[in-house]
Symmetry: C2
Subunit: 244 residues, 2 copies
């Protein structure tokens, strides 16, 4: 039995291909989230690679991701792009100090999102708690990401990225290898293109590809079909992240 029944070999082939909520980015460590009780202004049901919000758009709403994944990115005038955050179920976006969004938000996976207007968001205690909780978590994630962008090598960045895709591992609440006897494997899906990973990790797509190849060559990874990757030994990969 592998780490998580959701990702076991036996089940993998039986899973519907893309449109399954079980395939999240593994980032927020849950598959989906219950909808907050307040009446939402709107519900969004989006396919992958749909734009939710553009940098500079008016942003007077609170967006809560129920299912799927969203990426936030920023562009420099000459076209250089940085993907800032990858968000999953329970995460929020759309808030900003002034009334304009400072980032572009696009879906990475098919996503269900609820939208609350500013007034509803601010007058609901439950939503305020959610917002406060999630902002703290996002700030922590941004801190880690700053270390990655400022100080890590290409292979360390890619290893760190892959570790994020493994549920319940690598973070503060790392479960550790489940059993001594079983190989510490994990199957993950990488729903981002090399270009997107590169823009997230502050690299070029070629460098990302080379880092993947190197990890594969050295036995850390085995490519599956489509965008599936098997991490041969999660603990060993974790040692490549520079953080441990």
């Amino acid at each position: 039995m592998s780490l998580d029944p959701r990702f076991s070999d036996e089940m993998r082939d039986r899973l519907p291909p893309k449109h399954d909520a079980r395939w999240t980015l593994g980032i927020s460590r849950r598959e989906s989230m219950d909808e907050p009780v307040e009446k939402a202004t709107r519900h969004l049901d989006l396919a992958a690679r749909e734009c939710v919000l553009d940098e500079g758009d008016e942003a007077r709403s609170l967006y809560v991701i129920l299912e799927g994944a969203v990426m936030l990115s920023k562009l420099l005038p000459d076209g250089r792009r940085q993907i800032i955050e990858l968000l999953g179920p329970g995460d929020i976006f759309g808030l900003s100090t002034n009334r304009l969004s400072d980032v572009t938000a696009e879906t990475v996976l098919p996503a269900r999102i609820v939208v609350y207007d500013r007034h509803t968001a601010e007058s609901s205690a439950a939503l305020q708690r959610l917002v406060s909780e999630r902002m703290k978590a996002q700030i922590c994630a941004l801190h880690d990401h700053a270390v990655l962008l400022g100080r890590k090598t290409a292979v360390e960045r890619v290893a760190t990225f892959l570790m994020r895709l493994v549920p319940n591992r690598g973070g503060a609440g790392c479960a550790g290898p489940l059993s001594e006897r079983r190989p510490d494997q994990a199957n993950v899906r990488v729903p981002l293109t090399r270009q997107e990973i590169a823009d997230y990790l502050g690299l070029t797509l070629e460098t990302v590809s080379r880092a993947f190849s190197q990890l594969k060559r050295e036995g850390f990874l085995v490519y599956g079909r489509h965008d599936e990757v098997t991490i041969a030994n999660v603990c060993r990969l974790c040692k490549c992240t520079g953080s441990h």
Copy 2:
């Protein structure tokens, strides 16, 4: 008359050297902040380079900076350091999802800081508003910084850093050059060492030094005494940041 009377040539020489609250990092665009009404658990009155909180310390309190500047940093196990955020009056820190601080906090300038325990912070509406407001602003700043770390060249990073030191310029609320006839000058103090700037910008101290030298050679900067620098033309420097 220069942009801001605090930074005019005429006044500069008369100012007391370091221990003046007027010399903030210019980051939060204000000199100091009124103390929130709630009764604080503690008051801290710190010199420069004092440690407030270590990565991994218990963090059950909310820290509010009234005056001065604080830097948040993280270390990798092999000693690589990334300075994550530079905070000024009005900014907060110490919050984290779990009960441990994810960053180290040290003063950059002499600082006055008030500390509220978790319970006080959570039960005061005024403090909650402050926290929410500041967290949003910090997330925006972290987004910008991710772009810098992921996508900007060394000179662009240093130029962006210098622009942050100029009050009311470069950001969303950039005032623009004040007058057509006057040179668009600004005098700033750079209270960080080259090593600290390097750790903030994801570079080495030599690269930072070379970028400063290049900007000086090309007439963007004139070195003053101590850690003072004159930006010959703020608008022109802003074009070196890659953001405009």
